[in-house]
């Protein structure tokens, strides 16, 4: 068929997908506040780094994403291993359901839970509730990625280890885990990415002292477009894009 036409079409779609972010990045280096190019400047980056609310939110985001992705990776990896050994339909279906639940529904259900916990246990909203929420929604991602890797792992290697006298734990720790490690790392990076980027769920369960970077950006964006937001957005896209590329590399 018409290969050329299809190729041209693909170029247009790639442009549609990538040009908006490129334009945003280019204009984050514009010395003018307006959408007219006035010359190269790092002014908006300087302003962003001097903004204490932004810096604080970034630190919060990093702490939350690090802790949550670490917890989700450990729990998700051992879960995937357990499910790989023998299926547990109720757990896997429930994890799958959590993945397709609209974010806003996950957000309000967790808010309802935390409100209820506050009423009976006096636990307030804060960094810990955000971390719990992030572990909850990133767990399924980790299980899926690690599971994909486990499907390529030959179970007879583990049996061989046990025949040679290894305990189940030793077989997992010394044989299986090292060979699925790339999948585990990729899963962790993915969990980190979805955690650091989340706005909808986080904004429902965050306390006053636990504003995250997406929350601050959202508020700024709602007030209107600003070159400072362009600058932070560019940093986020570069960092997250880099992480995704690294994770793709490792997985292969």
């Amino acid at each position: 068929m018409k290969r050329h036409a299809l190729g041209m079409y693909a170029v247009l779609i790639y442009a549609f997908l990538h040009v908006p972010l490129l334009v945003l990045a280019v204009f984050s280096f514009n010395s003018s506040k307006f959408t007219v190019w006035r010359g190269f400047s790092l002014e908006w980056y300087r302003t962003a780094f001097r903004d204490s609310a932004l810096v604080e939110a970034s630190i919060n985001s990093l702490i939350i994403a690090l802790v949550a992705s670490l917890l989700a990776t450990v729990a998700g990896t051992v879960c995937a291993y357990g499910l790989w050994k023998r299926s547990a339909p109720v757990l896997s279906e429930s994890l799958y359901l959590s993945l397709v639940t609209p974010e806003i529904v996950t957000g309000i259900s967790l808010l309802a839970l935390f409100q209820w916990m506050f009423r009976f246990l006096r636990i307030q909203l804060g960094m810990h509730t955000v971390i719990l929420a992030h572990v909850a929604f990133s767990l399924a991602y980790v299980v899926i990625v690690v599971m994909a890797r486990l499907r390529t792992f030959d179970p007879s290697l583990e049996e061989a280890a046990m025949d040679l006298g290894a305990t189940e734990w030793q077989a997992f720790r010394r044989v299986t885990l090292p060979s699925i490690l790339p999948g585990v790392i990729a899963a962790g990076l993915l969990a980190f990415t979805v955690s650091i980027d989340d706005y909808v769920i986080t904004s429902m369960v965050a306390g006053v002292d636990s504003e995250t970077l997406p929350m601050v950006i959202f508020q700024m964006a709602r007030r209107g477009v600003s070159p400072v937001v362009n600058a932070i957005s560019t940093i986020i896209v570069v960092v997250l894009g880099g992480l995704v590329l690294v994770s793709e590399r490792i997985q292969r």
């Binding site: 018409k2 779609i13 729990a75 547990a88 609209p102 909850a136």
Partner: protein
């Protein structure tokens, strides 16, 4: 083995039980309670919140959400099908081409939505450019309307359409296309009578994935939509913040969840391999 496996499944079971099932159960309970005077919930138990879902005001928002999600799905399908075909036929480079579609998907959804605010607003790049070239003299109202929301949704969820389409098109037996051509079918006939019917599972999976994701959208209508472009997600969020009507917000959440589940069960039954 049993003990280690139980131990390994325990953390995920705990997270799933306490942070997914329990919260959903609480939402279910809230949806059956009455609205408290100062927000929150009170007894008596009632089905009133579910009845209010059929209120014309909310019915209108529901219809609008369906309309916006349906149109976005259709646009994704029309744009995504040739794209999936291109990738499926690109030989050794197909992984690279596929990743180029998926990559923006993993870079901040919020930032990608904001990028369209930057492009579409009155003093945004598109309007500035058109005014500079003299095509228009007044900025076009590109932002804060249904069109902007549909654009944002299509931009955000196109990969959800391309991936399953690619999976089915990639498996398509090439000899069937040759047979069709040998029997005298024009490319267009081969496309409509052979390729499209055979990729029906991918079309169904992609369409339902995009549709349910759009239906639950909250961020896109909030940032790109005007005051009139309200979708179910915004109604739900509003009940838990300014409107302080938790039972109604809970009922709306469960209704949305039920819709999503019904649609998913429909495809899971027919084409299981498409999703997991």
């Amino acid at each position: 083995m049993q003990r280690l496996r139980a131990l390994f499944l325990a953390p995920a079971r705990a997270v799933n039980l306490f942070l997914f099932i329990a919260p959903m159960a609480i939402v279910l309970a809230y949806s059956l309670l009455s609205r408290g005077i100062y927000g929150g919930v009170e007894r008596p138990w009632t089905l009133e919140s579910y009845g209010r879902l059929f209120d014309p005001l909310y019915g209108g928002i529901l219809l609008r959400s369906f309309w916006i999600s349906g149109l976005s799905t259709l646009v994704c399908l029309v744009l995504g099908f040739p794209m999936a075909m291109f990738i499926a036929r690109s030989g050794a480079r197909r992984n690279l081409y596929l990743n180029l579609v998926i990559l923006p998907f993993w870079t901040s959804f919020l930032v990608r939505t904001y990028a369209w605010m930057f492009l579409l607003r009155d003093t945004g790049l598109i309007n500035t450019f058109l005014q500079w070239t003299g095509v228009i003299h007044e900025p076009l109202p590109l932002l804060y309307n249904d069109g902007a929301v549909i654009l944002g949704l299509v931009y955000g969820y196109l990969p959800f359409m391309v991936l399953p389409l690619y999976t089915t098109l990639e498996k398509l037996d090439k000899s069937l296309l040759e047979a069709s051509a040998d029997l005298g079918a024009k490319p267009w006939v081969t496309l409509t009578r052979v390729v499209i019917p055979l990729s029906a599972p991918g079309i169904r999976a992609g369409s339902i994935l995009v549709f349910i994701t759009c239906l639950g959208a909250y961020l896109t209508p909030d940032l790109l939509g005007g005051s009139k472009t309200v979708m179910i997600g915004n109604v739900i969020q509003n009940q838990f913040t300014s409107a302080r009507d938790w039972p109604f917000g809970a009922a709306a959440s469960l209704a949305l969840m039920a819709l999503v589940m019904v649609l998913l069960i429909v495809i899971l039954r027919r084409d299981k391999e498409q999703l997991l």
